[in-house]
Symmetry: C2
Subunit: 146 residues, 2 copies
Amino acid sequence: MLKISELSEQTGLSAHTLRYYEKHGLINASNRSEAGYRFYNDSDLRRVQFVKTARNTGFSLADIGQLLSIRVDKRSHSCQDVTDITQKKLLEVNAKLTELQSMQQTLELLLESCCGGPENATHCSIMEALDAGLLREDNKEARLIK
Amino acid sequence: MLKISELSEQTGLSAHTLRYYEKHGLINASNRSEAGYRFYNDSDLRRVQFVKTARNTGFSLADIGQLLSIRVDKRSHSCQDVTDITQKKLLEVNAKLTELQSMQQTLELLLESCCGGPENATHCSIMEALDAGLLREDNKEARLIK
DNA sequence: TATAACCTTAGAGCCAACTCTAAGGTCAAT
DNA sequence: ATTGACCTTAGAGTTGGCTCTAAGGTTATA
Ligand SMILES: [Zn+2]
Ligand SMILES: [Zn+2]
Ligand SMILES: [Zn+2]
Ligand SMILES: [Zn+2]
């Protein structure tokens, strides 16, 4: 039986975070001492580790709630239920990746275009590009206007 | 001279957002009517468009504040001042990209490993992987444990 | 028995960038 | 003169995931 500080050590999640997860229905301490201290058993620990792994994978706490309700009753859920959640998350991640890659490309083009030197910025092509609107917005690819 | 709703139309930013930007020192209406209505001239419009372009490029409002103070006095700033901000932003973007790519890879591996079918999840390899800790965390690359 | 290091709770604060509300003033058209 | 569409302000609410505080109770050690 682990106290919350011990569970915290085992998992790398703060005691605050563990209580927060409990408040949001993700985890629970299956026992309490007479004074009300939380005590966690091995099954509790494994559940917390599941949450942590899912969190590291990028799932939101809401997603994890769903995954946990599958986990506690696998017989009532299908592999498709699991892949639906995973697929949805992958789509979100891919959308963000696309957005960030476009930013990356724009920033790289901006940096290439500027001398980066110590003289004054009256001629700076980054400032010019930002002033000019920078992108052809009709095109999905960020591209500096020449 | 544009009223706020007209500037909103011209820029695609809501009047709320324009007032929010003003409150945070990014933009300003150079004139007001007797009744206190904001009026924007061409120079105001160009400044707002600069803000919008920088926003689309991924810069935070704090970054944009710095870029704007360079913009109004280019002679007192160097190209390096501009590239410093841009480079910092690129590093942030690259860090997020790395994180998201790792998530993407993990999610793809999970999806490959699961049949996604209608039978029950007692054998689901996604659930197993999340239970098992999923990643070799010593390695930067996400990898399913075999 | 005192001190420190734990634990409890409800609830507030934080981050960024909005987004919206309330309560009222203004303006153009009917 | 009355709609209705605009405008103003200060300030509250939203999102997600923590993070921290206050005020108190418990436990281990000296
Ligand atoms: Zn230069
Ligand atoms: Zn430059
Ligand atoms: Zn299956
Ligand atoms: Zn499966």
